[in-house]
């Protein structure tokens, strides 16, 4: 937990320092961006005072951090609205997108991984492995194009944008889920094959256990522990992948908002975006450690001690 906080502090501080170290972020230029060329000296002074621009970078960061902790992430230079308000409005849509994709990615990824390691005959495992390799290699934005061409342009089945019901969710969900599902299935297949080679699996079979039973009771729990970190990382990538997918499908969530903020060089929004995405990403990856500790009796015991 301590490391997670440290990572957040370092990342936000680095981003903050980068903002301050970049020319064009002086009080007068911010005033010009906010109020136009006719910005008065009073406005400039007010901005300088508000952002403590005369203090050191560390002190300024301290001010930003204390405000951020109390929920004040500054005002967007683009819209003039509080950044926190914009995030509160966009975040649920992004979570909806990311959760749907995560569900698809984990279910499909594990299923494909289990089949490619457990099925020993026929072309199915090979086909699945090939699909997983291709799925992990196709860039999300191009896959989105392929789907749009086939399902929107040719077949006219799915809308290319909007949030009007399940039909408009399918393509964003799938595009976001495919790379994660592909990577998860590859890792699950490798870990499961490894686990199936372990002596405890042979021992269980020597007691009369079926292959199916050893997969579910012996190999999979051990393999899942080994795949937990990669799975969490992929879920984190689903979250940050919304940046691209929301832009392609005009999904009005946090990802598209972040890209728009970056295009506009809206510093407070960028900083807040980095914070929110990093918190989400780290929460997800740390959850893997906790789950691992709870699921493994050896680690569980160490923790209690």
């Amino acid at each position: 937990m301590l490391t997670a906080v440290a990572v957040l502090l370092v990342v936000t501080f680095a981003t903050f320092a980068l903002v301050r170290a970049t020319p064009g972020n002086t009080a007068s230029s911010i005033a010009v961006r906010q109020a136009g060329p006719g910005a008065t000296q009073e406005q400039v002074d007010r901005i300088r005072e508000e952002l403590k621009l005369d203090d050191s970078v560390v002190a300024q960061y301290g001010v930003w951090l204390s405000r951020a902790v109390s929920g004040d992430l500054g005002r967007s230079e683009k819209t003039g609205r509080p950044v926190a308000e914009e995030i509160a409005e966009k975040l649920p849509r992004t979570l909806f997108l990311a959760l749907g994709s995560t569900l698809i990615a984990v279910v499909v990824g594990f299923a494909a991984g289990i089949v490619s390691a457990a099925v020993r005959r026929g072309p199915l495992p090979g086909v699945l492995r090939l699909l997983a390799l291709v799925g992990a290699s196709v860039p999300a934005f191009w896959m989105a194009f392929l789907l749009i061409v086939v399902f929107s342009e040719r077949l006219g089945l799915l809308p290319t944008s909007g949030q009007a019901g399940p039909a408009s969710w399918v393509m964003p969900w799938v595009v976001l889920a495919v790379p994660a599902a592909a990577t998860i299935s590859r890792v699950v297949a490798v870990a499961l094959a490894e686990a199936l080679r372990q002596p405890y699996v042979t021992a269980a079979r020597a007691r009369g256990a079926s292959v199916r039973s050893t997969i579910w009771r012996d190999a999979l729990p051990n393999a899942a522990a080994a795949t937990l970190n990669v799975t969490a990382l992929q879920v984190g990538m689903v979250l940050t992948g919304t940046v691209v997918v929301e832009t392609v499908f005009a999904w009005p969530g946090l990802g598209a908002w972040f890209v728009a903020s970056v295009e506009f060089r809206d510093n407070w929004a960028i900083l807040a975006g980095v914070l929110v995405f990093a918190v989400g990403f780290i929460l997800i990856t740390r959850t893997a450690d906790v789950v691992q500790t709870v699921g493994d009796p050896r680690l569980r015991e160490e923790r209690i001690r």
């Binding site: 405890y200 021992a203 256990a209």
Partner: protein
């Protein structure tokens, strides 16, 4: 490695195309011709033209140059920084190493695409900023690899030798340490190119990477967006190019990091084993008939390096109440020949010959028949009690697995407690809900014995049951096996590399070497008059009272091979 090169071929090809772009491209990538815009592929323009009438093929080819140049720069920075940081951290150690490790951990736990976007957003969209944004986290995996490699090198004997010879530390660092770290880094790099190309394309696609008019695949894709339904030649080729680069990298990494049985596209089935005969011959149901009779057993393994014969014409048999010792050095095929009859050697094993349990042929039998024999007919105690118990399952669950089906939960628990008690485990009731790691090696081996007995087998095969245990525990476990064998009237097969260990227990001995049985007979006869030179060496190696101290220990010496009458 040759296969690895083949898989990386698309990548090399695209890199080559990029390098030779000015000579390969039929036209300038930026020459516009508005009279010929959005032309489909033709003899003049193999991949058509875009909305400004630019030759699409020339743009694709030049975009390869852009991507590859970008990847080369970013990876040069990442590898240089990463390998130096990691190597120095591992070499210097102490605080420096801790800082390096922390920095690597930090860099690896930050979402890279996001940070790259933020950097470009804050600093502005320019080539140096883009390169900075892409390399700021890319060094971390290389630092981790280099650190591991250097730590490995430092622990090696070569490192000690160099220090002993008085080599200068800097010379050691640059001539020996850095190269040892560079090699695994380069292997990773071959798989990392795709990631850099993908990231560049992603940023360009968002309008935050390579700026027009410089051709770049991601940016070509954005420009093609309005023509998705009309001009396939605009959006299909750039996407295929990015996918090809990424796929090539993934194939190489798969080749490097994936276990061989998953690498094959389709499992090769061993040639069909001969049809099982499941006829039970009356003669073999005699009380005196062997419970397990192995004849001409031959086991081959299909390995990447070719076929390996692990057992070649093995014969043995064991009767109820009898103790048979199978003795041989590691690799002699003794374990393989005891697991093969039950079909427990995996897919790569090809088993031939015959192994009859109570007259039922096991070689080539279907899974259903084998499952009925496993546990309930023949029980197995495995060599390594630490590896043969699933660390995530409770003891009770693993012992109960072998119990006959149809027992109620309470009955099953009672039987498990009974079994655990019968192998001499103290407080068996409290062990049922414990996990393997809470038990000592000797206790685990007793648990494994209890589990093997759960199905009430007639034959118990113990594969090196004491090798992983300390000497006192060894004796206890052997005594236990002997007692269980006697009490239950088991046919006990003791597999061991140590004739001394089993000599006291066994009624008969089978000596194996190089996959063949070299000698077999009643224990007393074999010990008194070993006929095969290898057996003579084994017998001579048994420590005995009255033997001159300092007698040469001769087990497994190779002169035997020449003398052996084969």
């Amino acid at each position: 490695m040759r296969r690895g090169l083949l898989l990386g071929l698309p990548l090399l090809l695209i890199a080559l195309v990029g390098a030779l772009a000015p000579w390969l491209a039929p036209a300038s990538p930026n020459a516009t011709d508005l009279t010929a815009s959005l032309q489909p592929p033709s003899a003049d323009h193999w991949l058509g033209t875009d909305q400004l009438g630019r030759d699409q093929l020339s743009r694709i080819v030049h975009a390869a140059r852009t991507s590859m140049a970008m990847a080369a720069v970013v990876m040069a920075i990442a590898i240089t920084v990463g390998v130096s940081v990691g190597a120095v951290g591992a070499y210097v150690g102490g605080v420096v190493d801790r800082v390096v490790t922390a920095a690597v951990e930090l860099a690896l736990s930050v979402p890279s695409l996001l940070l790259a976007l933020a950097i470009v957003g804050i600093r502005g969209n320019s080539l140096p900023n883009l390169i900075f944004a892409l390399s700021v986290l890319a060094w971390a995996p290389y630092a981790r690899i280099a650190r591991g490699a250097v730590l490995g090198y430092r622990r090696s004997a070569a490192s000690d030798a160099l220090v002993g010879l008085g080599a200068h530390p800097l010379r050691i660092l640059f001539v020996h340490v850095v190269p040892s770290a560079a090699r695994p880094s380069l292997v990773f790099a071959s798989t990392d190119v795709g990631a850099v190309v993908l990231a560049t394309a992603g940023l360009s696609f968002l309008g935050l990477g390579i700026t027009p008019p410089t051709p770049e695949w991601g940016q070509m894709l954005v420009e093609s967006r309005p023509y998705l339904g009309t001009a396939w030649w605009l959006w299909l080729p750039p996407g295929l190019a990015i996918t090809a680069v990424a796929l090539s990298g993934n194939l190489v990494s798969e080749h490097v990091g994936v276990p061989p049985e998953l690498r094959r596209w389709r499992m090769r089935r061993p040639s069909a084993p001969r049809q099982p005969e499941r006829v039970v011959l009356p003669a073999e149901l005699d009380a005196d008939a062997p419970l397990l009779a192995v004849r001409e057993l031959r086991v081959r393994f299909d390995t990447p390096g070719g076929e390996v014969v692990a057992a070649d014409g093995v014969d043995y048999e064991v009767r109820a109440g009898e103790v048979l010792a199978v003795v041989g050095e590691s690799g002699s095929g003794k374990t393989v020949s005891s697991l093969a009859p039950l079909g427990l050697l995996g897919e790569q094993a090809l088993v031939e010959g015959s192994a009859r349990f109570r007259g039922t042929e096991l070689v080539g039998a279907d899974e259903q028949t084998l499952r009925m024999v496993r546990g309930a007919g023949i029980g197995i105690v495995f060599q390594d009690p630490y590896a043969a118990l699933n660390p995530l399952r409770r003891i009770g669950s693993q012992v109960a697995e072998g119990l006959p089906l149809g027992l109620s939960k309470d009955d099953a628990r009672e039987r498990v407690v009974e079994l655990l008690g019968s192998v001499g485990l103290p407080e068996p009731a409290s062990l049922v809900d414990r996990y393997p790691h809470e038990l000592s090696g000797g206790m685990r081996q007793r648990v494994l014995i209890a589990a093997a007995l759960a199905g009430d087998p007639a034959v118990l095969i113990a594969d090196e049951p004491t090798t992983a245990l300390d000497v006192t525990t060894q004796a206890e476990v052997l005594t236990l096996l002997q007692k269980l064998g006697r009490d239950r009237g088991l046919a006990l097969v003791l597999v061991s590399h140590d004739l001394a260990v089993v000599a006291d227990l066994a009624d008969r001995v089978v000596v194996m070497r190089h996959g063949r049985v070299v000698e077999t007979g009643p224990t007393a006869d074999v010990l008194a008059g070993p006929r095969h030179p290898y057996t003579r060496d084994l017998v001579a190696a048994i420590p005995a009272l009255g033997r001159t101290p300092g007698t040469r220990f001769v087990t497994g010496v190779d002169h035997v091979v020449e003398e052996a009458p084969c």
